[in-house]
Symmetry: C3
Subunit: 262 residues, 3 copies
């Protein structure tokens, strides 16, 4: 993909309002990540307002990290509103393999055919119906081992599926890309994966979902690489990462993106 | 106002216990902001303890950012307890214009006549009954356009109303001040506005609310200016901001406050 | 204790999955603290999954900071599951003295005989049935004044009780240690105490609880000392603290731990 920067430029020009129904751990860092990138995040989860809020949001992200039965209803209502309006939403199936509550939530949200799913390898394997070796929020499987499940899922939903890890894999069931950007210390910062899901949602507004997702992943990973240059551990990496998301130009992204057709 | 620093000195001497019923995005940064400033924050929202907690707190802040019907009841109970005891509380009507749930919460809390309201221009316009151009949590209106609504609201509640933005405006319906401190990058850090509401609550303990609010806003904006000197983006700004809140002396504040009668 | 570093090495080798049912203020920083240290944190609180999650977690931490009646049930279910499986859990009785809801939660969780309790002096005094001078989340009592209550509590539960403050005190009712590591600015960062509770839980997996707790407290305090060397306030301290937790080696800890039999 030659023009990752174009998607960043477009996202910043739109400054899309992205509704996030996400977990408590991620809310603050996700909002900071999205603001630094140039999007306008809003957290609104109450059943009484979830669909109404979705009515004027440009995109939605849904994350089952700290799940509660009440919230699943809100997620379904908001996702259905996005579907009806033809606006993008992204599912982040955090630890979907771990408990019955999560498996049920995953199945219910999958039934709404998410335009984009972003998860780690264990989550994509589990969501695709396979056995996953994950425990807690961490992947116990490699990205490679989840590629077939990703393609299968994408065909099932008619959407895009991204498996993130050391080397990301993104597919719409037919075509696929790999994204090599990123830094090994990033998983040591909590909720960076969750926050990426919001960035994917922002990039997907009015853009082809496969390419927009690839560009979002490259942008995120490249900011991590840039941040790692000045970091002395996960604490300073987190700070520099926000600065790097904010400072990166579309030209920086086009020059630094390491994507390839898979 | 010649003596903004006096209010900071007084707040630090009291180290007031401030109860905050606030949104999930803001809770952590708000607590850190208040601790750095010298206050003692506590987050307690359960209906079963909200009013009891208000009984021994020195001040209360109420924020509708990630609203839930259950929480509105807690907010009302705590606010009523503060009113009964003659202790200050501050309403932060986050995105009150956005959904029916928020408009209803805003109206119910307004009926309790908040001693202080702090919001952005779109929120103050909406709370005052006007049309607002905001979307999500961001203001779509200028501070200037909300000044009349602020005066109207202040007369209606008998309290103080602060509209924050590029140039803040604070009024009790009769008198008014403008506060010019602040930095353009501050809105790129999530929940800094929410956290300011807690600082206003802390400053208002046993102080005249108009002057205390003006001093709190100048303190906050000046810390942002100081932080920006060493920041390379919103990530490092957030870190330096906490340091600056902690390091600022009352004399620094008196020297750096840029307030004027409006 | 001559070999604090051994406990850190052991914890990192296990990389234990620790379930945390904790408060909203702490969730993000607690996850970052635990990841930086080398543990695998997971926040899962829903009644529908709390016990199921406990089934495969290696340890559990329970924190009543932003309590809700629903959550007490989840805490009880998860704690009971840990007890049944003989796995460690740690109670953090935040502001247990403050309201009836908290006193009730404290009593119910105490009845489950927590293998480890970690609190400030006011919390331990209150949990032990004494009068506490705390207000909000802050201790109003000295560690020394709570030592007898800690021994009493430890005998009652058959577990370990840690009182943290300027000089920590840890006892199993018979033996006791003091830990002198730490820095005066650490209480100015919100939820560092809560996050420590998760570190204690991680250290306690398959280790003697008294020594593991002492090692965890020394590790934490020493990281704070290291961080303070480069900090200019609580904002930069928080960042350097995460880096220091990540960078510290077992040898560093053994060399820097300042523990003594009490």
């Amino acid at each position: 993909m030659q023009d990752a920067g174009r998607y960043l430029a477009q996202m910043r020009q739109t400054a899309p309002l992205v509704q996030n129904i996400t977990n408590y751990v991620a809310m603050n860092v996700m909002a900071n990540v999205m603001l630094a990138a140039g999007a306008s995040p809003a957290m609104a989860h109450a059943r009484e307002e979830a669909a109404e809020f979705a009515g004027f949001a440009h995109a939605l992200s849904v994350n089952i990290g700290t799940l509660d039965p009440e919230w699943i209803t809100s997620m379904e209502l908001a996702a259905a509103a996005m579907n009806e309006a033809g606006k993008p939403w992204v599912l982040d199936p955090v630890a979907v393999f771990a408990t019955a509550l999560r498996r049920d939530a995953g199945a219910r949200l999958l039934a709404l055919k998410p335009p984009i799913i972003r998860g780690n390898a264990s989550e994509i394997l589990a969501l695709g119906g396979g056995a996953a070796a994950g425990s807690g929020a961490d992947a116990g499987d490699t990205v490679e081992s989840a590629e077939a499940a990703a393609r299968h899922l994408a065909k099932k939903t008619g959407g895009v599926v991204a498996v993130t890890g050391a080397m990301d894999y993104v597919t719409d069931g037919e075509r696929a890309y790999r994204v090599a950007n990123g830094h090994a210390l990033m998983p040591k910062i909590t909720a960076l994966g969750c926050s990426l899901t919001g960035i994917v949602a922002a990039f997907a507004v009015d853009q082809p979902p496969l390419e927009a997702t690839v560009a979002a992943l490259a942008y995120y990973g490249l900011a991590g690489e840039e941040a790692a240059r000045n970091a002395r551990g996960p604490g300073s990496l987190a700070m520099h990462f926000i600065d790097a998301l904010h400072a990166m130009t579309p030209d920086d992204l086009t020059a630094g993106a390491r994507t390839s057709a898979a």
